[in-house]
């Protein structure tokens, strides 16, 4: 079947929901989601949302902007960082007004706590900037925005997968969807299309991401000709539960938790004398892996300890109850008396679909692509640069999600009805038949191999030799993928088929990550090259763009926007 909307939002996490809420009810808005909206991965965010409210101690948006730029190792576009920091207080007050049950100070204001990389007075020491609801901030913001979407009667279509995205003549034309319940393939056209499909941590073996985070929106945009920006910057969160990867929020360290190596030493003093355990994630992740490589993991193994025992049972119960229940359920560890084994886990993608400050997707020449918008982790504004600070993600989602919604509302009158889509649905149906008829490897075998390769050659530490080997192997897997085969030939709830379709996105993005990382011959933020250990502003202070050309992947670059803060050595 064929459907027509004014605006179609793909993805029902915070960015998609916040954007949808900004679009007037006079327009026909549809929101499609792979899952039920309340299952979106935004709901897994724990520690908080950053804003210089100054409710606990003096703070300013300028300090927040500075921290965001420095945290991103000066690859952050500073106009974006300024927009984020300036709009943060308004955005958080808005969430409070919508109903988010933030924790409170004794004066009844929104409570705040410390988080990695957030400082007072341009780096002097940690500042309490994270606004939070215990350790389930993402979940309650998701519930709040979902409730608001229900109140606004926004049409939500759950368990609908985007399997193709169509850009024709420099204009977004629509998407092809697969309906999980029935197996039906539909064409959905819209004047404006917003991609808010989140990240793709599932490229790596150990990750904190949900199974749905397969980067479909990012990959399908890329396949349709959109360049992808800064894809080499993959964030590893320092404290994933060993060996599962389930996240232990940075809030644990914000509240006073300390990392300790196998000798029982709190090693972060050696790596970040000022901020210690509250240094940015790239710094802490490298420190942990360095300790492990030096044989100072706990019991000689590849993990260290996160020690919360000094916090006391009461504080843990009040402010960190979810993560302490994760430790109890998955490890049998009582966080009040025992340390938690942790190791860096793939967590967040700084790179993605390039957009302007209003969510308009930019082509290779830096010009807006008519009718196509992106927001959230799928997008690269670039506000996080080479490394995102904790609590800036939720903020990014609601600040830039809203701005994308406003831009769509502004643009909609100038956007014509999308042209009819030729042959695309037939192509997708043929692709599905080919997967069902395939006689090659299973998706899970290829996926597992891909995750091992990426973990092995493009994680916290990287070098040219390993990455070139990895790239060759990933390309080999892409060849094998052409004859991928599945057991399930049925039409209803065929998740076997969807695993196979999602794998194409993951493999394509793995290749782009490697190509981007090989092209950046320096170390910056989350991208650490053993063969190029220094930051190289002279040659590399620029964004990477990778475009799918007719002869394979093409690399180009674009300048970083620098306004207030000139790059300088990054010390914590």
């Amino acid at each position: 079947m064929e459907f027509l909307f004014d605006v179609l939002v793909v993805g029902s996490g915070l960015a998609g929901l916040r954007a949808a809420l900004e679009i007037p009810t006079s327009l026909k808005v549809g929101l499609v989601s792979k899952v039920f909206p309340t299952r979106s991965h935004s709901g897994a965010a724990q520690g908080g949302i950053g804003a210089a409210l100054g409710n606990e101690e003096p703070d300013s948006w300028e300090w927040h902007m500075y921290d965001t730029v420095k945290g991103g190792d000066y690859l952050t576009d500073q106009d974006a960082a300024e927009t984020l920091a300036r709009d943060a207080a308004r955005a958080v007050y808005e969430l409070e007004h919508l109903g988010v049950p933030f924790d409170r100070t004794t004066a009844g204001k929104i409570a705040q706590r410390a988080f990695g990389g957030h400082t007072r007075n341009y780096g002097e020491g940690p500042v309490k900037r994270s606004c939070y609801a215990a350790d389930r901030t993402g979940r309650v913001v998701l519930d709040t925005l979902f409730g608001k979407a229900l109140e606004r009667k926004i049409h939500i279509f759950s368990e609908i997968y985007m399997v193709d995205l169509l850009v024709e003549g420099g204009k977004a034309a629509g998407i092809i969807t697969y309906e999980l319940a029935t197996g039906a393939v539909h064409t959905v056209r819209a004047k404006a299309l917003l991609i808010a499909t989140g990240g793709f941590g599932r490229v790596y073996k150990t990750n904190s991401n949900c199974f749905s985070n397969t980067g479909d929106g990012v990959y399908l945009s890329h396949r349709a000709g959109v360049p992808l920006e800064d894809m080499e910057f993959v964030q590893f969160h320092p404290t994933g539960i060993y060996p599962l990867g389930v996240l232990i929020s940075e809030a644990a360290r914000g509240e006073g938790g300390v990392l300790k190596n196998g000798l029982g030493n709190s090693f972060m003093t050696d790596y970040a004398p000022t901020l210690k355990d509250l240094a940015p994630r790239d710094v802490v992740s490298r420190a942990i892996d360095t300790e492990i490589r030096a044989g100072r993991g706990v019991n000689g193994k590849d993990y260290v300890h996160l020690d919360l025992t000094s916090l006391g049972a009461e504080k843990i119960q009040e402010k960190l109850s979810d993560i302490s229940s994760f430790a109890r359920i998955y490890l049998g560890v009582d966080t009040a008396t025992q340390p938690i084994p942790v190791t860096p886990t793939c967590h967040y993608m700084m790179g993605g679909i390039p957009t302007d400050l209003n969510g308009r997707v930019l082509n290779k020449e830096g010009l807006p692509l008519t009718g196509l918008y992106a927001a959230g982790e799928a997008a690269c504004v670039s506000v996080h640069g080479a490394n995102r600070l904790g609590t800036n993600s939720l903020l990014d989602l609601v600040v830039f999600g809203r701005r994308a919604g406003r831009a769509i509302t502004e643009d909609i009158e100038t956007l014509s009805d999308p042209s009819p889509v030729k042959d695309a649905q037939v192509r997708v149906e043929a692709r599905i038949k080919a997967i069902k008829d395939g006689n090659g490897a299973k998706p899970s075998d290829l996926r597992t191999r891909m995750q091992l390769i990426m973990t092995d050659c493009c994680s916290v530490f990287r070098n040219q030799t390993d990455m070139e080997r990895g790239l060759e192997e990933i390309r080999g897997l892409k060849d094998k993928y052409r004859s991928v085969s599945i057991d399930n030939k049925g039409a209803n709830y065929n998740t076997d088929l969807l695993d196979a379709i999602e794998l194409e996105s993951l493999l394509g993005l793995a290749e782009v990550i490697l190509v981007s990382a090989l092209s950046r011959t320096e170390s910056r933020g989350a991208h650490y090259r053993e063969d190029y250990p220094e930051r190289d502003d002279h040659n590399c202070l620029k964004h990477t763009l990778v475009t799918a050309g007719s002869d394979g992947l093409e690399i180009s670059f674009k300048p970083v926007k620098i306004t207030k803060f000139q790059p300088k050595a990054r010390k914590f």
Binding site: F36, G108, F211, L247, S325, I329, Y493, N494
Partner: protein, 236 residues
């Protein structure tokens, strides 16, 4: 260790009746039931259908009945299951769409019915003030992930298809006891009906199965008390 999973199978498009199928997998004691299901689907039988997403108990996708008790497959570990045998079935009292996937439409409609959003008055420039004590009245209700385990486990919901159910009542509790909401009385009136709070007979099954440890029954009883206080005696 070797683990046997006995799994409920039903594809209404081809099967005349549901049946059970046994699968054997190798699993470590610390692995999750969800990991076992994935091993089956990925390596042995891709026709098996279930929902999953976050895999650590915050999204609520993989609610199902494990060894006779409603739970999240991502929170239940192999070592907690007796005798290396795991019985896996869909949530009871919901219509099965395929295997372990159930129809949640009515469940979400009922959550929607209680208006799961704040209704507040004028918007101040900064935050609405709320003391920590006022905030605490919402208690653990903000932990609800809408997984539907409570509703599925409730003996009343199983018999009375018109009962609103525990999850919507928890969602209502969250707003009733939010000091910022201005429709407390209207919300209480909405629940003050035969198939609202009064249908709850204190079986405590919802509380027992809640994967987020929300004292669901207690919250329903507190709501009953609040109705008596604000509105008066319940209907005969």
């Amino acid at each position: 260790m070797k683990v046997t999973l006995r799994i409920f199978r039903f594809d209404p498009s081809v099967d005349e009746a549901p049946y059970y199928q046994n699968y054997n997998v190798e699993a470590e004691p610390y692995e999750r039931v969800l990991d076992c299901l994935n091993k089956i689907k990925w390596d042995q039988d891709g026709t098996l259908a279930y929902r999953m997403s976050c895999a650590h108990g915050v999204c609520g996708s993989d609610a199902m009945k494990i060894n006779g008790r409603c739970a999240l497959a991502c929170q239940k570990l192999v070592r907690e299951c007796e005798a290396d045998f795991i019985l896996v079935e869909p949530l009871p009292s919901f219509t099965v769409l395929k295997d372990l996937i159930v129809d949640l439409n009515q469940f979400f409609e009922r959550v929607n019915f209680i208006r799961p959003f704040l209704v507040a008055g004028e918007v101040p420039e900064k935050e609405r003030l709320q003391t920590p004590e006022e905030r605490k009245k919402m208690g653990k209700s903000i932990r609800c992930i809408l997984c539907a385990c409570c509703t599925a486990a409730c003996p009343v919901a199983n018999e009375n298809e018109n009962f609103l159910g525990p999850a919507p009542l928890v969602q209502a509790f969250r707003r009733i006891f939010d000091s910022r909401d201005i429709q407390k009385t209207q919300r209480l009136e909405q629940l003050d009906v035969e198939d609202g709070v009064w249908a709850c007979l204190n079986h405590y099954e919802c509380t027992r199965v809640c994967p987020k440890e929300i004292p669901v029954t207690k919250y329903i009883n507190i709501t009953k008390g609040e109705i008596k206080k604000v509105i008066g005696a319940p209907p005969e």
